[in-house]
Symmetry: C2
Subunit: 388 residues, 2 copies
């Protein structure tokens, strides 16, 4: 058994292949199959109202709480392709279901890559046949994790060992990646025996404080999809809390890997906000700072420019005492009661990790952390290259 990834938990097999969708000629299709005995599935999708055809189809198919296999392709997002895009997504699902002897509604489908280009269905269908060929499916979590990469520079896998049961996972992308390439895709698997409801609670809780608080450039892709598939093969039913903890740990690990591999990143920045009314306000404020380009440029320059933090947070939808705001960089006070602290300009931010803590000065107990990156030359370079 692989030590990590989606085939670490019992009951899961995977395959990967090169279908010729990516221009690079790298592997570009993957399949994960839940062999049971149970097939509970939970999912979280992009909140973008412009969502891709595979999101539409997956959302329909997971509505009954069961998914037995998820098909992945990279190199083409099948987004903004109108009715033909939806037809293509459904055709690939039907083809896979037929090959696996399943119903269409048992299949999830995820695409990532160029927006606005039709899927090359001949290649995709040939790829499906390869993914389901005799001997293809097996302990191939690592190969699947590689096949879903787009501009990711490393593949991203995780495993969390619990008491006799396991959660595995793979992920790719973050924010929206390089020219026209979209999407964060994550697949989590577990051999715990859990209901769809338990799985959905655990997934929603975990994504709210991991992927949802990872904000590289404020952009939300048309294709973002996180699946959690449960096989029950361990025969163990954890408590909801135990499941929550393990799924959170897996999501947290993948989120950290996504942040570390974000485009153009030279700094990993955690923005924590306290001293506001509730957690929702705290996350609004942290997100406002994390998305502020002037703040992000200052982080790139290792510049302890707390004035930009105040200017950004002052526009946030959160309760604050505008004259009682404090800011700490790497634990050192740079601003107290909305005024510069002694030595503020000498704080050393030259390391790759920067911790920013903002106290909005009210007695409220809201708290949240958003993880982001700096805004570097390389971010601009990656994202300004011509798309075709």
């Amino acid at each position: 058994m692989a030590e990590k990834g989606i085939t670490a938990p019992k009951g899961f097999v995977a395959s990967a292949t090169t279908a010729g969708i990516k221009a690079s000629g790298n592997p570009d299709m993957a399949l994960v199959v839940n062999q049971g005995p149970e097939f509970s599935a939970a999912a979280v999708f992009t909140r973008n109202r412009v969502f891709a055809a595979p999101v539409k189809v997956s959302r329909e198919n997971v509505a009954d709480g069961q998914i037995r296999a998820v098909l992945y392709n990279a190199g083409n997002a099948n987004a903004c392709n109108g009715l033909q895009g939806e037809k293509d997504a459904r055709e690939s699902v039907s083809h896979l279901a037929q090959n696996l002897g399943l119903e269409d509604s048992d299949i999830g489908v995820c695409s990532t890559g160029l927006i606005g280009e039709l899927l090359p269905m001949d290649k995709l269908n040939a790829g499906i046949d390869q993914l389901t060929a005799e001997g293809a499916l097996g302990d191939n979590g690592a190969a699947a994790a590689k096949a879903i990469m787009t501009t990711d520079t490393v593949d991203k896998e995780t495993v969390v060992f619990a008491d006799g049961w396991t959660v595995g996972g793979m992920g790719k992308g973050v924010g929206m990646m390089a020219p026209s390439l979209a999407t964060m895709l994550v697949c989590l698997t577990t051999d715990a025996s859990v209901t769809q409801e338990m799985a959905q609670i655990a997934l929603a809780n975990a994504t709210a404080v991991t992927f949802d608080t990872l904000d590289i450039d404020g952009s939300t892709s048309t294709n973002d999809t996180v699946f959690l598939l449960a096989s029950g093969a361990s025969g163990i039913t954890p408590t909801q809390d135990e499941l929550n903890d393990a799924v959170y740990a897996a999501c947290s690990d993948i989120a950290a890997k996504l942040q570390a591999d974000a485009e153009g990143v030279t700094k990993r920045v955690a923005v924590t906000v306290v001293g506001t009314t509730n957690n929702e306000q705290a996350i609004n404020a942290a997100r406002t700072v994390a998305r502020d380009n002037l703040f992000k440029c200052a982080m790139f320059g290792s510049d302890p420019n707390w004035g930009r933090v105040l200017a950004a947070v002052g526009m946030a939808d959160a309760d604050m005492e505008p004259e009682k705001i404090s800011v700490f960089f790497n634990g050192q006070a740079v601003c107290l009661d909305s005024t510069g602290a002694p030595g503020a300009r000498e704080v050393d931010l030259s390391g790759a990790d920067i911790d920013v803590r903002i106290d909005l000065g009210t007695s409220g107990e809201g708290q949240a952390t958003v993880r982001t990156t700096d805004l570097s030359f390389s971010y601009v370079e990656i994202n300004s290259a011509y798309s075709s």
Copy 2:
């Protein structure tokens, strides 16, 4: 009489001086005085809850609808300086009022420059004496416009000739400028005879569709201030519509100059949204696209990447038909019914001006335009340099 600027309308004089606040040694203080016979004044301030001391003092002083003189300094924003900052702003106002034989409440004050550094009050007070010295005040609108510059590369003036009366103006900055330098400041003058109420209506209407829709980096400074001072010296009272038109023309001209001089700009981008319920939703949607870093990078790369427009607008707080969105670049359809249009990737965006039109597909009649710029290497360079 100067052909343009704040001393073009009758009844206004100005002065400028070098007080040594800017490290560059360039002129850094300016004064505009309304000699009457009337002193109606309107103002619009930053909506940032973290606002600078001069904003607090100006807001108080304009509350009675009259301002006779506005003091400007560049090089130091007097923001985030706590009680001492407020004390310093009040001291400078009192000093100027005394020199001019006015009440403190007749004075407006605007600062721009570094955040979190105390004003050098000895230099500032000496500067006030120079600005009010015998012979200093005169037809010096152009000198004043130069003195309020921070990282602006050109001074920005305007004049609008109406039927026997005139509107003049100067402005600086846009968004938040280079390292720790804050603020858009605009001063408009007119010799029309108008009430404070007329002036406020004209100013609010004009700023809503000019400065408020100029969105370079989504950042709102702690110091943004727009004054409109009316001397009545022409003896002519325009209608509200006539005043609105002239003030709009002046604001529009200065806004265009601010956009053209925005930091790191290589493209001037106008994002227009139609086909949503109302103008407020249209501006939300246009702003969401204008602030999207992936979209802005694509503009820098002259890349007709309409997928990013759809991905960005799909997250906007505006009514839309997600499958009926159309996008036009420079008048050419690149996306129809949320699907790529033929020839979309060949649209030429190599020019300095790019027009983006987005139809959200509903029958609503909302419409708005937001002006922004691209996200370039040079934006990152300017904003990542160390602040001290």
